[in-house]
Amino acid sequence: MTRNPLRQLLAAVALCMAALPGAVADNIQDFGPQTFAQIKAQFAGKPFIVSLWSVDCAPCRVELDMLGKLKQADPDFPLVVISTDTIEKREEAADILLGYALDGVPTWMFADSFVERLRFSIDPMWYGELPRSYFYAPDHSFTAHSGILTAAKLAELFPYQADSVDQREHDR
């Protein structure tokens, strides 16, 4: 793959841009086949929420709006946002996240065209419908939800908000 001269050039340009402060203003990272395992490892022993969206999904915008407000109210809320769009749509995705004040949150985008494998790495039982969200308990048992996530549904499926804050207090 890296031997393609065009891709090498693009990669070089991307590196240069990354080196320029402010040139790449988003917090979007590549989501590959191993990424979800790494995310889970980051949250070892802790609860967290995963929200999956795409730029082509209208109901997802309703959910992003709610999550943006939630994150503003509680900047430490353990939220993982993953776009199932290809990385080529990065600019569009970054614009949308900015609109919901989610630009400061580390987010991921599908970076492998074999999307079936990426979906499988998140959940073998997921059919690909969006929005899709996951609620991980501290022991990483989880509940899945398809369709728009409302604040009420979130509160019902994720009773760890206070706990997680307590846990962070304890960690300090």
Binding site: N4, A58, D95, F114, E116, P124, M125, W126, S146, I148
Partner: protein
């Protein structure tokens, strides 16, 4: 930096150079290998986004695809073994959509007129326009594309389907958000979008005004179309029932803008306020008013890919079966040829995506065991089945195999 090739790349290159000699329609070529051999700016069906295909009356195969903001058309005179140099349809670049549920559509009239529709995105807020162009000189040149939705609104007009009836009536149907916009402007709720259509009786020279088929469709699934007699079509789409259930509806559309009553074709009980991006497939059955349909649902009653034969006279589905309930299985395509029903879909087994085929010789009452046609461990498009008077063919694009066009009826 020195250019060096891995063994795999050398092998791919060798294979790419060898293939035209082998002349095998089954062994397609990956875009990556072709571009390594012929240059990175190569325009080819094997590099095209979301291709679709059709046979003309003389047995020539026409394939439409998207590449770098252009729709292209390429012709094959040997059932997909080799292709002509692709011809640009839109001279000016536009943001033509290409994904599993939004692809350029192509049909060819008995007089040789080549007609295409596609979606051009106009913003990142789900707006788009229904675009149309045609060639009256055998594909050498195409008319400047025009917009078919006649509301003049910058709103959603997407997920188009194009169909030419046996009598030569051209139907174009799509998902439309004009009614949603108007309703929301009155501060009233409007679940989903709407289905609209138009007809051309002169091979795409002119179209009648847009006609609404139904309110409250799902916003993001392709619409299936099949012939209904000589002049009309039946369409099958994902519809919102009771504000939250996304099952399927069927209706018959006529050439004068006459729309039948909308009937519920599937009762899967899928409560979801989300985008399944998963549209159905449908072909006419042996008897008038009967339709073979296959669809995906994750409903309370039916979960996975299903098949049933719907009868418009009784409003009932018959011989409903679960085709594949494996998570990751989806995107079925149906075809009927000389009394045999073909059903192809894409699975996922954790490592790769197998293309599965099963057949029925008794109008969908019983089916063969599924067989795996091909597998890929890279990204791939939805599989499509294409029929000609001579047979049934698989049309499938993947990174690994390029564009595959393969006859199934002789297997």
């Amino acid at each position: 930096m020195r250019m060096s090739l891995t063994i795999f790349e050398r092998f791919s290159l060798a294979l790419a150079l060898l293939l035209p000699v082998l002349n095998g329609p089954v062994l397609a070529q990956s875009c990556e290998a072709l571009r390594a051999a012929q240059g990175q700016d190569l325009i080819s069906v094997h590099c095209g986004g979301a291709p679709s295909a059709v046979f003309d009356a003389d047995g020539h195969l026409w394939v439409a695809f998207v590449l770098d903001e252009h729709v292209y058309v390429s012709r094959s005179d040997d059932e997909g073994a080799t292709y002509s140099t692709p011809v640009r349809v839109n001279a000016e670049p536009e943001d033509a959509e290409f994904n599993g549920e939004n692809r350029p559509k192509i049909v060819v009239g008995a007089d040789g007129t080549i007609m295409l529709s596609w979606i051009t995105k106009t913003s990142n807020q789900f707006t788009g326009e229904i675009r149309f162009s045609r060639s009256v000189d055998g594909g050498r040149s195409f008319a400047t594309p025009r917009t078919i939705n006649d509301d003049g609104l910058r709103t959603g007009h997407r997920f188009d389907s194009l169909f030419l009836t046996p009598s030569g009536k051209l139907y174009l149907t799509w998902i439309d958000k004009r009614d949603m916009e108007a309703t929301l402007a009155r501060n009233e709720a409007y679940p989903g979008a709407a289905i609209y259509y138009t007809v051309s009786t002169d091979m795409g020279a002119t179209f009648m005004p847009n006609v609404r088929v139904s309110h409250n469709s799902c916003e993001c699934c392709r619409i299936a179309m099949a012939a209904h007699g000589e002049d009309s079509v039946a369409i099958l789409w994902r519809q919102i029932f009771d504000d939250h259930i996304r099952d399927h509806a069927i209706a018959v559309l006529g050439p004068q803008g006459d729309v039948s009553e909308v009937s519920r074709a599937t009762v899967d009980d899928w409560y979801i306020d989300a985008c399944p991006h998963h549209g159905p497939t449908m072909v006419p059955g042996a008897a008038d008013g009967q339709y073979h349909m296959s669809w995906f649902s994750a409903g309370n009653l039916h979960s996975g890919i299903h098949y049933a034969r719907y009868d418009l006279a009784t409003d009932l589905p018959a011989d409903l079966i679960k085709v594949d309930g494996t998570p990751g299985a989806g995107h079925p395509s149906l075809a009927l040829h000389e009394g045999t029903l073909y059903l192809v879909w894409k699975g996922f087994d954790g490592m790769g995506s197998p293309l599965q085929l099963m057949q029925s010789h008794d109008d969908g009452r019983s089916w063969s065991e599924p067989q795996t046609l091909m597998t890929t461990t890279q990204g791939s498009d939805h599989p499509l089945l294409i029929t000609s008077p001579g047979g049934v063919y698989l049309s499938w694009a993947s990174e690994e195999h390029g564009y595959v066009f393969k006859e199934l009826s002789n297997d």
